[in-house]
Each structure stands twice: as structure tokens, then as C-alpha cells.
């Protein structure tokens, strides 16, 4: 990119703005405000295309003009990833909300990227179906945003992550191409699996404009149970025993914190007879610990973790460990939190994925996260920081990215050679 273009972009001269207006109309191009900031970077324009083709054209024009584009869905997770090195415009999918086809008899749905998860689920429920996924903030989070951040919750244990649910995708590339891959059928091995490539890519390779998902039936009945334990060691024993049993549970999550004893929640779904029989088995397995019935509000556990009072003294991290390292990891968390005088709370799924909240002074948070990451790196585990106080010293959100980083950069170079999309936000400076 030559210097002349760069300076034009940073000032975003009016001529360029008029070109976006010519593409979309005046109503859908507006100046960005402080509320549109992305991880500390302030974009200049917010652009809301109404169709896939319009979106691709905006991207093409931005790419020519050397503008840095931040794709946005519901805007629920702007702090995820590193701060972008540039942010000229927000490319919003807010107007692209159509549920194109719910082929309920085939258990598939084709939906535009800007549709919220909640609206999608409500539509699917009319035919007794669901996207078997429990992402954060479904009332605002969109299909495209959830895909790009690869956000999954407790249901992943049984139904898999987005990579297992997405069967097709259309993406807009910076050169204006709209490319589809996968298809509308669950079983399909024709061509490369690009839906998986863009899932979790944080919008750095292309902008997802539509997706096709496989669906699952809504459960006939569901019931949750709580199982307390005296310490993390016991929790781990319980979790591994359940995972090694023949129970057909849909989720298993364990809560830990600096002030309460660990407790695990389980959800069973199915026929009344099936659930009743499994409840008996669960009670036998947990004995002498008493199993109690619990409300389905345990679903909200992850969102509760994010409901914190002071963003300036809170850090949130996603960790991924082996289930057999659960106790060791929770002891490590407690130890680092104590050493740095932090309050803490954690939620761990039986898949080994967990969510950690630390509260305290920014400098202490930084040291504790550094310590945790280096310990977890030694166990083939990972720690990704999703929220950090603005005043915390610089800390890479992603951590080490391994020997495939040059290849990841090569993929980025092929699809987005001018580094137009979300520059610098992803792994290894991508």
C-alpha cells in the first residue's frame, strides 16, 4: 500500500464516503461513534449492506482504497482478539437477517449471517428443532459472529462445536468474490471444507454472508441435576467417572471459585423413562454424595461469569485442557490467584474447555495470566484472553500459535493479500 492511499484512508476523504453512499444509499452509511470502538481502536464509518452482493462490493471498494475493515454481527464480542492495527470501517451484517430456508424435514437451515441466534432458534422451534448450540448472548449474537468467534457452550459435549454443525457457507472475499463451499446436505465431501476454515477465523479470511447448519430435534424432556464435591480432586474423579460411564447426558459442567466448594451440573434429555433410569444410575455413580435436582437456569452460568461489576479490574479467559488435568488446573488457578491477590471464578465443561474470571489490579491480573499461560503451555493446553482491562499491560490474547503459523499466514495472504480484514486481531499478528 503506498503512502498516498494510506493518508487518504486515515482521513477517509469525503469522495470515498460518497462512493459507499452510491453503493448503498445514504441511510446505510454513517459516521462511527465511540460505541463502535473495537478493542481500543476507533473506526470512522459504519456500513450496513442489505445483500450479499452489496456486502461484497463494499469489501471490494474498501480493499481497493486500502481501508481496514472490521466485520461485525451483533457487536457482543468486540473485545475478543487483539486490538486491530487499523480500523477504518465497520462492515455490519445487521440488515442481513433472513432465514432463507428451514428445510425442517431434512433437518437443515440456510440463514443469513446477521440473523440472531435467538430468532433462528425461535423459527426452528416452530418445527420442534434447534441448532444444538448454546452461545453467549443469543438475543444479540448473530450467526456470523458466533461462527467467526467459534463460540460454543456446554451442549458441545453431546452435539459437537460449530465445526460439527456447519455444513455450508458463503463468504465474501476482499476482491469482491462471493464463494460458496460445502452444501445443503449433511453428508458431503465434495471440495475443500472451507466452512471449517472460516469458523473461528475471527473474520480475517473473508466475511461470512450465509451459513447452512444441520439441526437436531428439540428434546422431548429435559432435567438437570447438581452434584457437589469437597474439592477439585473429587470433581475430577466424578467428571471422569461420568465420562467413562454409559450415561447419555447432554452436558456436564463444573463450577469453581475462591469462595465456594466445587459443584457440577448435568443435563439429561430424552424420554421420561430414559431420564428416570439415568437419574438412578447417576445417584449410584455419585454415592455417597447426594445428587439433587436443579433448575435449568444452570444454562446461564457462562453469561453470569461475564456479568461483572468493573471491566477495569476484570479479566476473562477461555482455557482448553485435557479433562484428566482438571484438578491440577484448578489448583493452579487458585494458586496463581492467591499469589496475586485476585478473586476468581471458573466454569469447566467435561470437554476440557473452561471459562475463567479473575478480578483485581491490572498489574496483578497481567502477572497471574502470564503465569497461568506458561504453565498451561507446558501441558499442551491453551489460554485465550477474551476480556482484559484497558489499563492492563500488553498481553497477546492468543498465546503461542505453534509451527503451523507460517502456513496460517500463507492462507491469509492468499485470501486477503492486502490485509484488509481485521488486521492484527488474530493469532500471530494475522
Amino acid at each position: 500500500m503506498d503512502a498516498a492511499i494510506k493518508s487518504e484512508a486515515s482521513g477517509l476523504r469525503p469522495a470515498l464516503r460518497y462512493k459507499f453512499i452510491a453503493l448503498l444509499g445514504n441511510a446505510y452509511v454513517r459516521a462511527a461513534t465511540g460505541a463502535d470502538a473495537v478493542a481500543g481502536a476507533q473506526p470512522k464509518l459504519v456500513i450496513e449492506p442489505g445483500t450479499e452482493r452489496e456486502l461484497a462490493n463494499v469489501l471490494l471498494l474498501s480493499n481497493y482504497a486500502g481501508l481496514a475493515v472490521i466485520p461485525r454481527g451483533g457487536g457482543t464480542k468486540p473485545g475478543w482478539g487483539n486490538s486491530p492495527t487499523h480500523a477504518d470501517l465497520i462492515l455490519s451484517t445487521a440488515r442481513m437477517t433472513e432465514i432463507i430456508e428451514h428445510a425442517w424435514a431434512d433437518l437443515t437451515v440456510t440463514v443469513e449471517a446477521g440473523c440472531t441466534i435467538q430468532r433462528l432458534q425461535e423459527t426452528l422451534a416452530q418445527h420442534g428443532q434447534r441448532l444444538a448450540l448454546d452461545p453467549l448472548w443469543p438475543e444479540k449474537a448473530t450467526v456470523g459472529g458466533v461462527l467467526s468467534t467459534n463460540d460454543s457452550g456446554a451442549l458441545r459435549l453431546r452435539f459437537g462445536a460449530l465445526r460439527d454443525l456447519i455444513i455450508g457457507a458463503t463468504i465474501a472475499l476482499p476482491d469482491g468474490t462471493l464463494a460458496s463451499s460445502g452444501g445443503k446436505v449433511v453428508k458431503n465431501v465434495a471440495g475443500y471444507d472451507l466452512p471449517k476454515l472460516v469458523t473461528g477465523a475471527l473474520g480475517t479470511l473473508g466475511v461470512i454472508t450465509r451459513a447452512v447448519f444441520r439441526l437436531h430435534p428439540l428434546p422431548l424432556n429435559s432435567r438437570s441435576f447438581r452434584v457437589p464435591s469437597a474439592n477439585a480432586e473429587e470433581t475430577q474423579k466424578f467428571v471422569l467417572a461420568v465420562q467413562d460411564s454409559k450415561l447419555g447426558h447432554s452436558f456436564l459442567q463444573s463450577h469453581f471459585s475462591d469462595e465456594t466448594l466445587p459443584v457440577s451440573d448435568m443435563l439429561f434429555e430424552g424420554t421420561e423413562a430414559g431420564i428416570a433410569a439415568q437419574e438412578t444410575q447417576l445417584r449410584n455413580l455419585a454415592a455417597p454424595v447426594i445428587v439433587s435436582a436443579s433448575s435449568t437456569s444452570t444454562w446461564a452460568a457462562r453469561e453470569e461469569l461475564w456479568t461483572f461489576l468493573d471491566p477495569a479490574s476484570t479479566a476473562i479467559a477461555k482455557i482448553s485442557i485435557l479433562p484428566a488435568n482438571l484438578a491440577r488446573t484448578m489448583e493452579l488457578v487458585a494458586h496463581s490467584a492467591n499469589a496475586h491477590q485476585l478473586r476468581w471464578k471458573a466454569l469447566l465443561y467435561a470437554t476440557g474447555i473452561g471459562w475463567l474470571r479473575l478480578e483485581g489490579k491490572p498489574g496483578s491480573l497481567h502477572r497471574a495470566l502470564q503465569m497461568l499461560r506458561s504453565e498451561l503451555d507446558n501441558q499442551d493446553s491453551s489460554l485465550v484472553v477474551l476480556h482484559r482491562p484497558g489499563k492492563m499491560p500488553a498481553f497477546d490474547a492468543w498465546g503461542t500459535s505453534g509451527d503451523a503459523l507460517p502456513l496460517m499466514k500463507a492462507v491469509k495472504q492468499q485470501l486477503d493479500p492486502k490485509n484488509t480484514l481485521n488486521p492484527g486481531r488474530f493469532v500471530g499478528g494475522i
Binding site: 472475499l173 463451499s181 471440495g191 475443500y192 471444507d193 454409559k246 447419555g248 430424552g270 509451527d403 496460517m408
Partner: protein
């Protein structure tokens, strides 16, 4: 064209005498895979027994610009392991060690030459299994399964190979070694494991694979139901799905397929127009409650006979008939083509009657075996090569069936892969920009296009080549934007 002597010498120093095949007679074994109508003689076959040896071979291929094709057990049905002109074959058959079994975390690490069924064999004592179960599972390799993203009868519930591969060690086409994913989930970065699985050997050679294993369900129940035709059987499948069930497998066979399976393995299938095999698994109480419902659904859709396999032996026999269905065609026809297409399941009655019409027009019989739950069709086109014109007619009929699948909104392959066989069909299923974008990804992995270079894509696009005219720039033509 034989190999230069100095290259052969170098290859021999990498893999040793036992690891190099270069005599014409022995090379014949490798000139095709399970799709035998395409044959190409490789210049040499290498049998490395370590990652370092694979790296050594691939580095040399990169230096000398020699294309290579990785090969597992050679059971593929789309020509994925077909050698390429002037290329070599890297057989992973000697890399067949199970490196780690980790029960608490339900992970197994294997080399690519490990046979699919041997993974289950190794973990069965603790009541675990490896879920993807292609019909060839007793001979096909995990490396081949990774290349093809193999499915099987139980992927309706358990997913495909890609669901069960958590990490890979890969030798890239320039000989460098990289790791995708790992034993833990969501390792930061692009999901390159997701892209690699199913890339049919075009992105490099997997040398280690981290697999997920699954606990055996408390019980498995298998039901056979005989219907007057595949239409009634198909309606029963729709009702089962609509009732909110997710069976472990739903398989369907038509009358011709039943006859062939009976002749081959005596599975004691009832004689009927459409046979349904429904398998449910899970906790006993759950499965038994649902099986009553399946029974009722089958009856209300006109099933004349319903049987529940009463023992593990009976269940095994039921499956043996199904899994032997392709090979069984040899009992009722001198030659046959195995097709693999996918349709949205609801299009089944319409596509079946179209297949029937095409079959009559061509004067050729078509036997149908389906993974009915997910709409994966395996029509088998029967013919006699000795009769002039029949082979061509069979090939035309077989590809017309694929066009039906595309028209119905489906796919040209559900599990066998594109390989050499269906390259031309790719342009019918995908638009040019779709295929160009896929090839951009390939260029990141293999800029010199040495790894199985002639497969999947109808036209090879050189890396660095400017895309053609497909990119329309409407804003440019409208005078809204000029090139900066």
C-alpha cells in the same frame, strides 16, 4: 518414464532397500486403487516407516519437482490414490503403529497406516470404539480415511472422520513438518485440521493422527422392516426423523440389492421392495421406549414384516449383508459401477422414480443401497462389459444419476470423494469462484502443486495466476470506483 538413477539411489538411502519398489512387475500393484478403470504406472513406490523418512522423500520431490501421491490401503473408490503421470507413490502401509491410548481423555494417537478397525480393536477392552465405520473398515487405513473424510453407516449420529480427528502431524509439500490441532480442543489459530481432513491428499501427507474415541452405548438395538417399495420405506424414515429421533443408523436397500446381498452372505433378509434397517443406541430405557415408536411408525407406513435382531450374532449378520452389498453385485451382474451421491432426504421418492426412468431408458438395471438417514445414495449400475456399448451406457447412466442429485440440491459425493473420477462434475456443483477460492487455499499449502496435483479440481490453476474473468466489478463498471 523410468526414474533417474541418482534419484533412485537417493530414495534408497532414505527408505532402505525394503522401502523402495521400482521394478515394473511390482509397480503394477500400485497403478490403481479401488476404482480400477483408471490406471497410471508410478515411477517408483516408497514405503517409509517414519515421519523423518516421509519428510526426506517429500523434500526430494520438492527439490526435483516430482509429483507424489500418498496411499493408504488403496481401497478408495474415486481414484484418489491413482498415481499421477511421472509421479511417485508414497505408501504409508508400514507406518502402522498405535502410538498412544489415553482412556481418561478418550484419545488415541496413530500413524496413518493403522487399519480403521484396529483402533476399535485396541480400545474395545475398556468398552470404547472408534466411530467412523466405512464398509471397508477391516482393511482401510486411518490415513486414507483422513484424506477422504470417510463416513460409514453410523455417521448419521456420530459424524464423519473430521468429527473424530482432533489433531494431525503433517508433512507439507515442501517437506516441512507442521502440527494442526492437538489433544485439547480449540487450539488458537485457523482450523487447518478441518481443512486437511477430506482434502484427498492434495495438501500434504499426514504422519500422525490424534483421534477421539467414544464410549460404547449401554445398548444397541437393530430393527429390520420390510416394505412394499422404497417409497413406503422412505416415508417411514421421514416419520422417524419427524418424531425427534436421531438413530445411530438408518439404511435402506431395494429389491435388487436385497437379492444380491442374500446371494452373497445369506443374511436372511425378507424378500421385499424396500428394506429398512434402523439402529438405535444409548441407555437401555431410552432405546426401548423409542424402539416401540419406530415399530409403530414402520407398521403404519405399511411394513409387512418387522424383526428385531435378538442377539449380537443376529445383529452382526444383518450388518454383514448391508456391508457386503457392493461386492455382492458380482453375484447378479458381471460388471457394475458404484455411485455415491447425496440428496436432501425428502427428495428421495422423486429421485428414485427418476432413477427408475433412466434405468429403463438405458435398458440397464440399477440396484439401490442408501444411508437413508442422511440421504446418501449408492446406486449400483449393473452391466455386462462383453456386450458392445453397455459400459458406455452404464457410465452415462451413472453420471446422469449424479446430475439428479445436484438438481435436487445435493452433492456429487457423500463419502467416496471426488478424486480422479468426479473432477468434471465439480463445475456442475460449484461455480467458478467457489473452485478458485478452494484452489487459493491449496496454493497456501502447495504452491508448486506436487501433492496429488491432478485430483479434485476440473482445471488446475497455477498458484500466482491472476484469477480469470469471473470477478465482476460492478462498482467499477458503474463508475463508482476506479482502481487506486
Amino acid at each position: 518414464m523410468p526414474m533417474d538413477a541418482h534419484i533412485l539411489r537417493e530414495l534408497r538411502t532414505i527408505v532402505g532397500d525394503r522401502g523402495l519398489i521400482s521394478s515394473r512387475e511390482e509397480l503394477h500393484t500400485y497403478e490403481c486403487d479401488g476404482l480400477t478403470n483408471f490406471r497410471v504406472m508410478p515411477r517408483a513406490v516408497l514405503l517409509p516407516n517414519s515421519t523423518e523418512q516421509v519428510q526426506g522423500i517429500v523434500r526430494m520431490c520438492h527439490r526435483e519437482r516430482i509429483p507424489f501421491v500418498a496411499r493408504g490401503s488403496g481401497t478408495g473408490l474415486s481414484g484418489g490414490a491413482l498415481p499421477v503421470e511421472n509421479g511417485i507413490v508414497i505408501s504409508l502401509a508400514r507406518m502402522n503403529r498405535i502410538l498412544e491410548v489415553d482412556f481418561p481423555n478418550a484419545r488415541v494417537i496413530v500413524e496413518p497406516g493403522v487399519i480403521n478397525l484396529d483402533v476399535t480393536g485396541r480400545v474395545a477392552s475398556q468398552e470404547y470404539f472408534y466411530a467412523p465405520d466405512p464398509s471397508s473398515q477391516s482393511i482401510c487405513s486411518i490415513g486414507g480415511n483422513v484424506a477422504e473424510n470417510s463416513g460409514g453407516a453410523h455417521c448419521l449420529k456420530y459424524g464423519f472422520t473430521t468429527t473424530h480427528v482432533l489433531g494431525l502431524e503433517v508433512v507439507l509439500p515442501d517437506g516441512s513438518l507442521v502440527h494442526f490441532g492437538g489433544k485439547t480442543l480449540d487450539i488458537p489459530g485457523y482450523d487447518l485440521a478441518g481443512v486437511f481432513v477430506g482434502s484427498e491428499g492434495t495438501l500434504g501427507v499426514a504422519t500422525k493422527i490424534i483421534l477421539r474415541i467414544v464410549k460404547r452405548p449401554e445398548c444397541i438395538r437393530t430393527l429390520l422392516a420390510a416394505f412394499p417399495s422404497t417409497n413406503e420405506a422412505g416415508a417411514a424414515v421421514s416419520d422417524i426423523i419427524a418424531a425427534g429421533m436421531l438413530p445411530a443408523a438408518i439404511e435402506m436397500m431395494d429389491n435388487l440389492a436385497i437379492q444380491a446381498a442374500e446371494a452373497a452372505v445369506h443374511a436372511s433378509y425378507p424378500s421385499c421392495g424396500g428394506l429398512l434397517l434402523v439402529e438405535l443406541d444409548g441407555p437401555v430405557a431410552e432405546v426401548e421406549a423409542l424402539m416401540i415408536q419406530v415399530n409403530e411408525i414402520c407398521r403404519s407406513n405399511g411394513a409387512s414384516e418387522i424383526r428385531l435382531a435378538q442377539s449380537e450374532a443376529e445383529r452382526a449378520l444383518v450388518w454383514k449383508g448391508r456391508k457386503a452389498a457392493f461386492a455382492a453385485m458380482g453375484r447378479i451382474s458381471p460388471n457394475y459401477i458404484v455411485q455415491d451421491g447425496v440428496i436432501p432426504r425428502t427428495a428421495l421418492p422423486q429421485v428414485m422414480s427418476e432413477i427408475e426412468r433412466l434405468s429403463q431408458e438405458a435398458g440397464l438395471r440399477v440396484a439401490n443401497v442408501f444411508h437413508a438417514g442422511d440421504g446418501n445414495l449408492h446406486p449400483l449400475v449393473l452391466y455386462d462389459r462383453r456386450i458392445a456399448g453397455q459400459e458406455e451406457a452404464a457410465e452415462a447412466l451413472s453420471s446422469n444419476i449424479l446430475e439428479l442429485c445436484i438438481a435436487a440440491g445435493g452433492s456429487i459425493t457423500g463419502e467416496h470423494g471426488v478424486g480422479e473420477d468426479k473432477k468434471k462434475m465439480m463445475s456442475k456443483m460449484f461455480a467458478e469462484p467457489d473452485l478458485v477460492t478452494m484452489q487459493l487455499v491449496r496454493c497456501a499449502f502447495d504452491p508448486l502443486q506436487l501433492s496429488n496435483p491432478t485430483k479434485i479440481f476440473p482445471t488446475l490453476r497455477l498458484c500466482g495466476e491472476k484469477p480469470g474473468e469471473y470477478v465482476r466489478h460492478p462498482i467499477e463498471s458503474a463508475g463508482i470506483a476506479e482502481r487506486y
